[in-house]
Assembly symmetry: C2
Homo-oligomer: 213 residues x 2
């Protein structure tokens, strides 16, 4: 098992780049085509592949179709990944209705909320009472959940998810949920992403005005 976040993220990038290259008619690629398309170095590509036991052909590169297939298997894309979401508010609803996940083999099968005004039993993705979540997760053997509730509720929802058997959580609430041996957590903090960007924009403009001295 490769336990390097960045490396897995690159794998997603390679997969996306490969799909573009395939659409452009490429049948095979070399590590430097792919690295170009993915914005990394060729040796990074080869090293990553080596880590996952992906092999190509000396002087022949990699067959695009096979490569996509191999990466997809590593990323679990050989089967549809069923996911639930808790908190059908603004951002939750945006995610629920996004078609792109399904195209990538990720299906949000149900949402849950505490607000009865949000319930929608017969939608493409039903929105159900929170109380039904635990049973649903157990019955459907769901392992991945998305949290889009207010920060004050996030920790509690994470605990309910973990107790129900969820093994991975994508959390959008602006609190840093801590993972355990049992549950992997990926915290997305959009304000922090903006702060990060703003820091670099400011640092950059200072560096440039310094250059002008």
């Amino acid at each position: 098992m490769v336990s390097n976040r960045k490396c897995i993220t690159r794998l997603s990038r390679y997969k996306n780049a490969l799909k573009r290259l395939k659409a452009l008619g490429f049948i095979k690629v070399f590590s430097d085509n792919l690295s170009d398309a993915a914005g990394v170095t060729p040796s990074q590509v080869r090293k990553d592949f080596s880590l996952f036991g992906i092999t190509g052909n000396k002087r022949g590169g990699y067959k695009v179709d096979e490569l996509i297939e191999q990466i997809q298997v590593i990323l679990g894309k050989n089967e549809i990944q069923r996911v639930i979401l808790v908190g059908a508010g603004r951002i939750g609803a945006a995610l629920l209705r996004y078609k792109g996940f399904e195209e990538g083999g990720i299906r949000i099968v149900s949402a849950f909320d505490i607000d009865p005004a949000k319930y929608l039993a017969n939608d493409a993705v039903p929105i159900r009472p929170l109380e039904e979540m635990t049973q649903f997760v157990r019955d459907e053997k769901i392992r991945v959940g998305i949290i889009t509730v207010p920060d004050s509720a996030a920790q509690r929802i994470a605990e309910i998810m973990a107790a129900a058997g969820i093994k991975g959580i994508l959390n959008f609430a602006p609190i840093q949920l801590r993972g355990t041996d049992e549950v992997v957590i990926n915290n997305i903090n959009l304000e922090s992403e903006l702060e990060n960007l703003i820091y670099f924009v400011n640092a950059h403009s200072k560096a440039n005005s310094a250059k002008c001295d």
Copy 2:
């Protein structure tokens, strides 16, 4: 200038942790309180601070208020950061209406779209025709933009933004926009975040079933 993404992200985390600690009544903190609250090691905290020239008192720790203030200045939170958004669709609308950014000193001052059905001249955050963006950015000296248009339009919007004088872009479209010397880009790919999570959930369950052999 510190040019380490992770380090800036930690700074956001410290800031958030400090605000929580302050709410709990802390007047001063030590590197190990803070590291606990932020989920890093104490030496990481001190190392980061040292990098930014933040100093405390030997045996006295750091005064919470001063520390928050210093970090906020580094992150540009001493002034309101004005930001625009292009693509007032599902995810764009969720971001537009999110109150949390304003609380953190980040204000989305206007959105832009090509679909006249989306225009809303007199909303809290107006949604205007895309054609008005360039002028708006110039007049208002906006430096940061958020892209929430379909992937097919993202590259073009990024170029228009750059030409108008935008220096930093937070991109939600699932294509990897490439930064330049002039423009910093932070790509958020939510599908890739889910793929990442799913990889670790699967890898973990395999590792555990292996343990059971």
